[in-house]
Symmetry: none
Subunit: 140 residues, 4 copies
Amino acid sequence: MRNLPSVSLEEARQIITGGERKAQEIGQPVNIAVVDAGGNLVAHARMDGAWIGSVDISINKAFTARAFDISTGELAGNAQPGAQFFGIHVSNKGRVMVFAGGIPLQHEGQVVGAVGVSGGTGEQDQAIAEAAVAAFRPSR
Amino acid sequence: MRNLPSVSLEEARQIITGGERKAQEIGQPVNIAVVDAGGNLVAHARMDGAWIGSVDISINKAFTARAFDISTGELAGNAQPGAQFFGIHVSNKGRVMVFAGGIPLQHEGQVVGAVGVSGGTGEQDQAIAEAAVAAFRPSR
Amino acid sequence: MRNLPSVSLEEARQIITGGERKAQEIGQPVNIAVVDAGGNLVAHARMDGAWIGSVDISINKAFTARAFDISTGELAGNAQPGAQFFGIHVSNKGRVMVFAGGIPLQHEGQVVGAVGVSGGTGEQDQAIAEAAVAAFRPSR
Amino acid sequence: MRNLPSVSLEEARQIITGGERKAQEIGQPVNIAVVDAGGNLVAHARMDGAWIGSVDISINKAFTARAFDISTGELAGNAQPGAQFFGIHVSNKGRVMVFAGGIPLQHEGQVVGAVGVSGGTGEQDQAIAEAAVAAFRPSR
């Protein structure tokens, strides 16, 4: 047997709240999604006025960050033309997002889920995702 | 010009909270999703232990209830073999759910979004969705 | 935090071996797949001569059994015309299989994965899946 | 009539075992998949801790290597912007992988299947795939 420690709904909400606070601070409404250790959605929120096309992107940025245990911003560099993973973005039925805004959630050295943010510039999404991760307070 | 009155994120969260309370009362963890007047996801929550296959179903029950301005339980009757809308469940790229748990959200005679619940029996999902709708307090 | 105990690759192989033995006994080559607690594939084997269309079905029967913590044979009854979950088979991007051959793997009261078998009749697939589950020896 | 010489399940397992040994040696858990002469999955294994997003990629690297009878690393060069096959990665419903880790399996001058590895860097995937191919011992 293996053990997959995973974020709970309560933790996912704290993470989303942390992201929202940052988003309000910089005045950019976004979508924020959290997936668990299995890559499956735990919670999602679209702030009023955020892009509807970003619902899917926020969920899939979170999926991607967990699927490859890497931030999507870092993956981006490897997914460009000429780089070692160019073309990865068409795998997994179009769920792999290769631009900034998805970050794995870690606890005691293991990836226990991931957060995905979409709706602003790459820099804004990344900053909001970082604030979301910073709000992660693993219980016990 | 048209106006699309639509649930806000804050209202969506009240709705989800109302559903969760009922789900806890009957001891059945579920997924709860709220879409806006455009049929697009506003917020989603998967209670700890709820089925992962129900993430998609909760979101799409909400979509369906808004897409046709009808509860999915009511649509079910019309979507059976021999009934007038049989086959509708393969339209919209598999997003049309034809069993109970999706209910439109109404305000002043207009559909302003919908809620979708998945994770229990059809009866449980329906009861939880009704509790969610009952928690809807349109601001102003 | 939540904990998702999950089958290991070694356990998945024992499970597949158990299924294969039964399949050889009844002379029916099949596909056998095992998914983990997150619904993601751990291992798959297609016996020589088994249907190629059953690759997808075996993987998705396993997914379905974990996604809803239910055997696909049991789900079948609820997914027929007039039953409470009719139409569920179009959800999850066509990954929900509503006929026999998928069974959840349980350990200490929790679903830790699932097995899916496809290639024979419903009865054969079910018998092979049961043999596969019976071969599950959780480590520790 | 034509004859499609093709890897058997037993051979696929030897191939996967060869890949796993190399993966353990370099300390990089990966997904390893083998497809037959028809491009259809014969066997797959995800080593404990390997990326879940690589399930799909390993299977599709193997598919790609057989679909075009070329290693995916070699195809990569032809699939870059400006090269003769740029855009090929969106064909075949997103199954064409254009980065290293997929290698055709040959026997007596014919391609009889392919192996796909995903989970490490491009170099690691390639080295593991080569070790997998080296373990291929065609029966008779």
